[in-house]
């Protein structure tokens, strides 16, 4: 079960390294500008973040925290998945289309907001699960 996600992650890592090397080569030989290299690198980071966010609710389903009931854990994973996917797409979109000055200011806070939001939701879910299990949970 674990070999497929590892293989996918290794393939993504290899692609990122190859893309970085190609961009560096292109910049060294003046085929592409420095701004283009920065934009493409950031777009790649955003797309990878969106990809990982996409699979958060799917792959992390089995790693249920001891303090959380299944319904809370499920909603937490969905919230985290959607947050990181949308943040990743927003990050990539900003670096692809917005002026560099705007992308520099707006893109990172977008990801930070998703991280803080998910961490906050996680903390809230763990805290409430500790004292009061969600109504109607099928399993404990």
């Amino acid at each position: 079960m674990t070999t497929k996600p590892i293989a996918t992650s290794l393939a993504i890592a290899a692609f990122m390294l190859l893309a970085a090397a190609a961009l560096k080569y292109g910049q060294a030989h003046e085929l592409v500008s420095a701004v283009f290299v920065t934009r493409m690198t950031q777009v790649g980071i955003g797309v990878v973040l969106a990809l990982y966010g996409n699979f958060i609710p799917k792959n992390a389903t089995r790693s249920r925290g001891p303090a959380c009931t299944p319904s809370r854990m499920q909603s937490l994973l969905r919230f985290g998945g959607w947050s990181f996917t949308l943040a990743g797409l927003g990050y990539a979109g900003l670096w692809a289309f917005a002026p560099v000055a705007v992308a520099n200011v707006v893109a990172m806070p977008l990801v930070a907001a998703a991280t803080v939001g998910t961490a906050g939701y996680c903390g809230w879910a763990a805290w409430t699960c500790r004292w009061r299990p969600a109504a109607g949970d099928a399993r404990s």
Binding site: F55, P57, K58, P70, Q74, G81, A138, R139
Partner: protein, 105 residues
């Protein structure tokens, strides 16, 4: 991906996934929401399991299903529901009859 589209094309299976969005449920609890036989529901569960959209956990005689959707699959479920993909289209007289029946009951 083909199995995912196949699973999401049926309104009953989409309704199952929407119920599971709220919380994990047992097969019996889910079946109570649908006016179909248990073998039919089992077939629907099998399609969902095959597409890896739900996760089944067996404890004794009870099978508990929980959601196993990626964000993309979740969005596809939303779109399929929004546009009513797979929902049988009723004719005007059939719709009028259904409205009349609702009013009389």
């Amino acid at each position: 991906m083909n199995s995912v589209f196949k699973a999401l094309s049926d309104p009953t299976r989409r309704h199952v996934l929407e119920l599971l969005r709220k919380r994990p449920m047992t097969a019996g609890d889910l079946a109570e929401h649908f006016p179909v036989s248990k073998p039919t529901m089992s077939a629907h569960f099998a399609v969902l399991r095959e597409a890896n959209l739900v996760e089944a956990e067996k404890s004794g005689k009870t099978v508990t299903y929980s959601l196993n959707l990626s964000v993309l699959e979740d969005a596809l479920l939303g779109f399929a529901g929004l546009f009513g993909i797979g929902t049988p289209k009723t004719s005007k007289p059939a719709r009028a009859a259904a409205v009349l029946k609702r009013r009389t009951t």
